[in-house]
Symmetry: C2
Subunit: 234 residues, 2 copies
């Protein structure tokens, strides 16, 4: 299915500016044609094109399917972006396919990467949402400091790290907690002991992701896949 991103205003839709060229010049859509689009709110919409200009495609719409491709969980991943950006890109794509709700790039004591290109990650999110057939657009935040992400963390909060302190297996943690979940994934050199301490003081639970030494993006994708897998029967 060819799927577009559009904005809804009352009874009308308007394609996202970045989608106009593909719709009109590549797919040669005309006034009167039907298209499917998402607005990011969770629904799949069917639109009828009524207006085409050089920079605008708009028209009327109806809801085709509510909560399209929705997953029965709300999972936020706060992650220190990897030094090699393609690894972070890859994580974003896979996590969106598996229904992550929110990704927060975080700046940690041992972060090797201190900036991310927000717009590039947003494009990754959009293409993965379209590819995996979902109506809800996951949120991707601008990079924030570890402490701020901790302060604002939603629901049951876990921090995955490799320090030999008392840690619960991540699946045991999320199976014990209903409602929104947040997991913190550290940089290549792990969270610092002080960060782990601050997280614990803020109420985050220490968790582990098994005995293998996983790369940052592998740990994050494994954490998402385990939650995804846990809800497969539903």
């Amino acid at each position: 299915m060819q799927l577009f991103l559009a904005h809804i205003d009352g009874q009308k839709f308007q394609l996202d500016a970045a989608e106009v060229n593909h719709c009109v010049r590549v797919l040669r859509k005309k006034t009167g044609d039907q298209i499917f689009f998402i607005s990011g709110d969770g629904n799949l919409y069917e639109g009828t094109i009524q207006l085409i200009t050089k920079s605008v495609v708009g028209g009327s719409y109806k809801i085709s399917q509510k909560s399209w491709g929705a997953v029965p969980y709300e999972l936020t991943v706060a992650i220190a972006p990897t030094k090699m950006m393609d690894r972070m890109d890859w994580f974003v794509e896979k996590a969106v396919e598996m229904g992550v709700s929110h990704i927060i790039p975080i700046l940690c004591d041992r972060s090797e990467r201190k900036v991310v290109k927000q717009d590039k990650l947003e494009k990754k999110v959009l293409s993965a949402v379209k590819q995996s057939l979902k109506g809800k657009l996951p949120k991707i935040s601008p990079m924030v400091h570890f402490d701020r992400a901790l302060e604002e963390a939603q629901g049951a909060v876990a921090i995955a790290h490799c320090e030999q302190t008392e840690r619960m297996a991540w699946p045991a943690f999320f199976q014990q907690n209903s409602g929104p979940l947040t997991i913190f994934i550290g940089p290549e050199g792990d969270f610092s002991p002080n960060e782990i301490l601050r997280a614990q003081e803020a109420g985050a639970h220490s968790v582990h992701l098994g005995g293998s030494r996983l790369r940052t993006e592998t740990a994050a994708i494994a954490a998402v896949a385990m939650v995804y897998g846990h809800h497969l029967g539903e």
Copy 2:
């Protein structure tokens, strides 16, 4: 930890030819130095270098740790390699990090990629094994036809596909089956109905990986991560 690959012959070890340069020219190891190595059999070894020539590094060894980084499951993934080879490379790296035992590239009715570079995948396997600290080197087979992989499949066999037939959730399947597991993951356009039929006739169970339309390599990684996650507490 700097980790090498070596071959063992009786009481002596010899570094893999591809490792010699790194050991001698880059790390400047000398006769009498200790090194850690794996041979792929599951153990971590500690070697003492006794001989260095232009192309050979060898010496005596002892076992440092048995079943080093071992996982408590045996999982084979038979997968149709993706059209874009970097996606297959990613899968191999991540699957090895999470303890996959064996990867079999398969040729399917709808395969877009009909050849893979075996030696390039073997290098990926080795570097992921070293990175994730494991003594056992997962096997990566040369590409075989779907039917042959099916014929030779070990243990409880599942085929993941998107056809709307009766399918069990993958976690339900592997939780019901102890011993070796094999999962078949299809190409971008899914297995053909005829392949699914042949798999079922050969005793494979149809499974699903949830409602999201996952890319081939995402499906495969998700399948591995779920098994990895299931055994985290052990």
